[in-house]
Symmetry: C3
Subunit: 165 residues, 3 copies
Amino acid sequence: MGGYRVAILTVSDKGSRGEREDLSGLAVEEAVRGMGWRVEARDIVPDELGDIEAKLRHYCDELGVDLVLTTGGTGLSPRDLTPEATRRVIHREAPGFVEAMRAASLRVTPHAMLSRAASGIRGCTLVVNLPGSPRGARENLEVILPALPHGLEKLRGDGGECATT
Amino acid sequence: MGGYRVAILTVSDKGSRGEREDLSGLAVEEAVRGMGWRVEARDIVPDELGDIEAKLRHYCDELGVDLVLTTGGTGLSPRDLTPEATRRVIHREAPGFVEAMRAASLRVTPHAMLSRAASGIRGCTLVVNLPGSPRGARENLEVILPALPHGLEKLRGDGGECATT
Amino acid sequence: MGGYRVAILTVSDKGSRGEREDLSGLAVEEAVRGMGWRVEARDIVPDELGDIEAKLRHYCDELGVDLVLTTGGTGLSPRDLTPEATRRVIHREAPGFVEAMRAASLRVTPHAMLSRAASGIRGCTLVVNLPGSPRGARENLEVILPALPHGLEKLRGDGGECATT
């Protein structure tokens, strides 16, 4: 139940132009390393559906990571499209993660209900959207971390194409 | 962050035939005015998919309101089709609003889980389904009101086609 | 508000091969009988999309039961496909049931967020996915039981094709 391989995608117009430091991606990376998991990739893309989707497909289909965590692009702004890109690539919805994150955040602030974050499975990879702020990303990730080891272990399955030796 | 323009749609067979006073639409209108927002339209349609959908499109595409609130048609009855009409018109899902309303109502009554209400964004407009009873509509609206000003402000964006001068 | 007709479907590779006793289906059956409702069918199928879907269609379209309860196949394992089969057959989503079950289970264990259970309506039948373990199935069913009589009554409607005499 260890050694999971993770990809982290920051979705931010400003970040992708180098106008803003990627503190959210960094916060997610630190939390992931704190679990003893390996960060295989960490990228920044603008809030463009095609760019987000291409990265998600790359992480799932070519890198074959166990987990993709995105940060940013989950709000109501016209260019917030991370959930739409996520829904385009996932084969099986896994709504429990985003429901749990929104419910936990809602106990802190009513603004939590503005999150449109999605989560689901593509092949052997779980994809979960986190909020765009460093604090929001970290706090939401902490909500799902206790369930991830068991979840990722199940996702690998016993035998079959997702199993590792 | 004020001056939002709102349309209210009551979905009710009896209401559309004039057999029942539209107390739910009235309750929603009062709450909206209490926020200092402007009610641009308020209509009643029967529980017909096409009628509901046409009104939603009109509010979003022609009136260009910031927010559409519906009341009625969200339960399990065979003619409850408001969520289906809503899903037909929205471009981006925003499940946090209806999750928060159901969670809050669930603390009052287990019947809250019977609500099939949906919420999402079409262009520059947020659409949220409220329950059909005056009390249910008012109480559910109160759950999301604290998050709406910030949400609608984000939806307008900075510049771009949804911005106002 | 009584006399509802129910079908129970256990989704399990091992169960379908007779390698495991169907304690979950039995637990669901006992709870249903405890409500004074009638169990019209109880079957076991492997975790195959087509097999699950065929049974769900049979229960809804041929048996015309009021309620279908499934147990199993809702997790992250590669062969967990019950929610996908359910989404294929339902006409109207009813997310309040599974949201309420996950929220209640989340108060007991963070693993509750791993449930991908779906719920919705096909014609005159409500379909709800329950977890695969006997205890999980029973506890989740207990969460929604208080709302089911009113919900199933509404689903039958007044007159119309779902009404009973």
